[in-house]
C-alpha cells in the first residue's frame, strides 16, 4: 500500500525536502532531520488522537508510518478525527484516513493495516522503531508493553477521555511496565508504590478499570450512568487516601469522546516526545504524562 512517490530513506535529502523542512531543520539541524527520515512508526488506533499523531509525525518527515485500525468509522469520530472526509464511503478508519494522511507529506510512506493487533504474532512489533498505541483495551496495552520491552522497541500508549488525556512511555526499558503502573486489581492499588501519586493518576486508573469492566470508554449516550459508575470506582480509593469525593466533580462532565483540544495537546506531546527519542534526546526520566484540563497543566511523572 506504500505510496510510490516517497523519497525518505533513499539517500540524500532533496532540495525540495530541504525547503519543506526548512523551519524545523533550523531547530534540530540536518542531523536531526536525517534521523527522522529513518524512523519507522507503527500507529495503532485511528480515532481523533491517532489522527493528530499521524499528522504530526507525517509532517515532520519520518520514514514510514503504518496506520493500523480494524474498526469502523463512527459518528463520534466527528469530534476530533479530521483525516476522514465527511463524505467518505470507506468504513474502515485506517483506510478512510489514508488519502488525507498521505497528502500531508508525499515524502513519507503511509501504509494501511486493518488486522487487529490482538491477531498479530509477538514478533510483529520488531519491524518498527517506535510503536504508538491508542484506543486499545487495557489488556492489549499490558501485552504490548511486555512485548516491546522484550523486543527493545520503544513504546508509547496514549488515550484521551473528553478533555482529559494521558500517555505512558517505555523508551529506555528501565522503568515500570504499563501493567505495573496501572494495575488491574480489584481496586486501584494505593500502597504498593510508596511515593505519593498525582491526582490524575487515580482518575486514569478509574477510567481504565471502567474500560476493563464495560469493554468500552464512557459514552455520551449513557453519560449519567457512566459517571456514577466511575464515582463508585474512584471514591473508595479517595476515601482511603483522605481525599474529598468532590475532587473530580469538575472533570466528570468533560470525559466523553476524544475531544479535539486535548487530542491536539496529547497527540503533539506524544509526537514531540517520540521525535526527541529519534534524535537521541529522550525525556526518559519519566514514564507517564497527564494533561489536566481543569488545572491547565501538562506534567510528566515517574510512576
Amino acid at each position: 500500500m506504500a505510496s510510490e512517490m516517497t523519497n525518505n530513506g533513499n539517500g540524500e535529502m532533496s532540495k525540495e525536502e530541504r525547503k519543506v523542512y526548512d523551519r524545523q531543520i533550523r531547530l534540530w539541524g540536518y542531523d536531526g532531520q536525517n534521523k527522522l527520515r529513518g524512523m519507522k512508526v507503527l500507529l495503532i488506533g485511528l480515532q481523533g488522537l491517532g489522527a493528530e499523531i499521524a499528522k504530526n509525525l507525517i509532517l515532520s518527515g519520518v520514514n514510514s508510518i503504518t496506520l493500523k485500525d480494524h474498526t469502523e468509522v463512527s459518528i463520534l469520530d466527528c469530534c476530533s478525527q479530521f483525516l476522514i472526509p465527511r463524505d467518505s464511503q470507506e468504513r474502515n478508519r485506517a483506510k478512510a484516513s489514508m488519502s488525507a494522511a498521505q497528502k500531508l507529506n508525499p515524502n513519507v510512506k503511509v501504509i494501511v493495516d486493518t488486522t487487529p493487533i490482538e491477531q498479530n504474532v509477538d514478533s510483529f512489533v520488531t519491524s518498527f522503531d517506535i510503536v504508538i498505541a491508542t484506543e486499545c483495551s487495557p489488556t492489549t496495552y499490558k501485552r504490548l508493553s511486555e512485548l516491546c520491552r522484550k523486543a527493545k522497541v520503544k513504546l508509547f500508549i496514549a488515550d484521551v477521555y473528553g478533555l482529559f488525556g494521558y500517555f505512558f512511555q517505555d523508551v529506555n526499558f528501565k522503568h515500570n511496565l504499563y501493567g505495573e503502573v496501572f494495575l488491574d486489581n480489584d481496586k486501584i492499588n494505593t500502597d504498593s508504590l510508596p511515593a505519593k501519586k498525582p491526582l490524575p493518576y487515580f482518575l486514569t486508573s478509574a477510567l481504565l478499570k471502567f474500560q476493563s469492566e464495560s469493554n468500552r470508554k464512557p459514552n455520551p449516550d449513557t453519560s449519567e450512568e457512566d459517571v456514577e459508575e466511575l464515582k463508585s470506582i474512584v471514591n473508595p480509593t479517595l476515601d482511603e487516601l483522605n481525599i474529598s469525593n468532590n475532587t473530580f466533580d469538575e472533570y466528570y462532565g468533560e470525559l466523553f469522546c476524544e475531544l479535539s483540544p486535548t487530542t491536539s495537546i496529547i497527540g503533539a506531546m506524544v509526537s514531540q516526545t517520540a521525535i526527541k527519542n529519534a534524535m537521541d534526546k529522550p525525556i526518559d526520566t519519566y514514564n507517564v504524562f497527564f494533561y489536566d484540563h481543569v488545572e491547565h497543566v501538562g506534567q510528566f511523572h515517574l510512576l
Binding site: R23, P220, S260, A268, M269, I275
Partner: protein, 624 residues
Amino acid sequence: MAAAIAGVFQPEMQNLIKESKVLLVGAGGIGCEVLKNLVLTGFSELEIIDLDTIEVSNLNRQFLFSKESVGKAKSHVAKTSVLKFNPNVNITSHLGDIMDTKYGVAFFNKFKLVINALDNKKARSHVNRMCLSCDIPLIESGTMGYSGQVEFIKKGVSLCYECLPKSEPKSYPMCTIRNTPKEPIHCIVWAKFLFGQLFGESDEDVSVDQAIYDSTEKVSARHWAEIVEYDPKKLLKKIFYDDIKYLLSMESMYTGKKVKPILLESSFFDAEDVEYHHVPDSEVLTLEQCKSLFLDCITSIKQKLDICENRSLVWDKDDDDFMNFVVASSNIRSAIFNIPLKSHFDIKSLAGNIIPAIATANAIIAGQIVIHALRILSGKYVRCQSVFLRELPNHKGQILVKDKYLQKPNPKCMVCSTDGEIVLSIDINKITVKQFEDLILKKKLNMVAPDVLVDGRMIISSDEDDELDLYEKTLAEAGVNQGSRFSVDDYFQNYSIKIMLQHKEKAQEEDPDFEIFGNLEELNTAEKNNVAEPEENDEDCLIEKDESSVERVDDDLSISDEQVHDTVTNIKQEDDSDIEDIVDIDPEVIKVDQEISNEEILAMKRKADEENEDINEAKKSRVD
C-alpha cells in the same frame, strides 16, 4: 463536531459553543491548528482573516495546506480544507490586513471572542486595542521552536498586550556596519543595505535609518551602478577593492581600533570562475566560490531589475538570487575584515530573522487556546491564567505550566489605563510633523489614523479633507514648544494618549532621534545614567535593524524574540508570591537570539539555573 452530539458537553456549554461567533486572526501555524480545533469542537460561526499566501516553507506545519495550494490565500484554503471534515460550519474567510480600516469597531463588535494567531507586534497591538475598545475577550498566543504561550486579555480583568514594555528590535551601531564590522552579522546587515542601495528604492523612505545614511553616497552608488550597467566585475572591484582602499585612506578611521580591513590581492579579482553549485547550503563556500556566486547573482538580479516596472527591488530571503547576493557579499566582506565566513543556511537564518517552527508546539498551543476559549465563554475568567509551553520539563516534570494567578492590568499602562501620559524627548527643530506621525505615532506607538492637538490646536488630522499643510514643517515651526502637551486620538482604534514634550537638542548625528519615557522621573534617571557611563562613540549611533528583515506573517507569530523578552520582563516584575513562575522560566528560549554564542547561552543558562536554585532555597525557607 462535538457540540452537535448530546451529552458530550453540558447543555449550557453546548449552546455557547454552537452560538458564539469567534474571530480568528491569522491562518498560519497556530491559526491552522486552532481552526481545526474550533471546528471539531463544534464552533459553528467563525470568521478567519489572513493577508498572506502559502509558501513551501509553511508545509512542515500548516497542515491545511499542500504543495498544490502554494501561492494561494491562506484564509481561503484553510476554510476549504476544514469544510472537508466538517461541512456544517459557517466560516467567512477574509484575505486582508486586520489593520485595514474596513475592520473597525462595527466588525469587531460581531464577535463574542477574538483569537490572535499572529506573528508580529504591530498587528497584535492593534487587535489588543480593538478588543479593549469593544470590550471583547481576546486570546493572545505565540510559539517559537519548542516553546510557546497562551494569554487571556480582557479589559479591566487582566494584563493587556501592551501593559508591559516590549523590547526593541535588535540594533547595530551604524558606524560598525559601515566601517568596523566585528562579527558575521555586521557584514550581513551591511550586505542587505548594499542590496537596497544598488537595487532598491532610492529616496522614498524617510525612516530614521535612512536619514542616518549619507543620502548623497546612496544615490551615487545606484547611479554609479547604472552607469556601468551593473557590470558584475566592475561592481565587485568597486565594492570590495576601491571602497575598502578609500576607507583605508582615511587616516583617523582605524587608528587605535582593533578592526582593520585588509585589501584582497588583485589576483582574486582576476581569477577564473569556480564551481559552487554542488556545495550543500550547510557548508561554507570558499572565498573564490563566493566571488563566482556574487558575479552570477548580479547578472540574475539585473535581469529582475530590468523587468521590474518601477526599477526597484525589495530584498526577500525567499528569492534565491537576493539571498545569494547577501551570502556572497557578506562573506567577501567578512574575509576582508578577518571575520569567519558563514554557510548559506546560517546566513539565511540571520538575514531573514527566521524563527524555527514545528507542528507539535503549534498544536499544543492551539489545544490550550480552545480550552481557554471554553473557560472564557462560561465566564471563568480567573481560571484563564497565562499558560507556557516549555522546551523541557521543569524540576517538577511540568512542560505545560500556568501562571499562578491571572495578572491584573498595569495601572500605568498607556493603552488600557485611562490616564496614560508619556514623555517624549525629541529635537523639535529637526523632526518634521510628518516624521513625528510616521516614526513616533505610527511606527513606535502602533497607531493607524491619529489626530493630534497641541495645546488645543490641531496639527495632524486623519481626515484627508483637513488641509493643515504642516507635514513638511518642523515641530517648532508648527508651534510646538518645550513642555507642550499633545493630545493624540486614534478614533479607529478608539485609543488616545497624552504626550508631554521635552525638547532635547541632538548633539551628534549618531544620537537617537527620539526617546520615550513613562514619566519625567524616568527621563531624568536615564539622563543621569548617560552622564555616568559615557558610551564608546561606536556604540551610540544605533540604527534599527531594517524592518524588511523581520520575518512577516510567514512565521506563525510566534513569540518573536521581543515576546520572549516580554516573558522575561514579565517574570521579573512579579512579586515573590509568584516565585514558582520564576523557576519555570526556561532559559532555553534565549536561544533565539542568534547573536549569542553557545558558550554565552550555556553561561546564561547556568546563571539562570543557579538563580532558580537560590529561589528554590529561598522558597523552602520561607515555607518552613
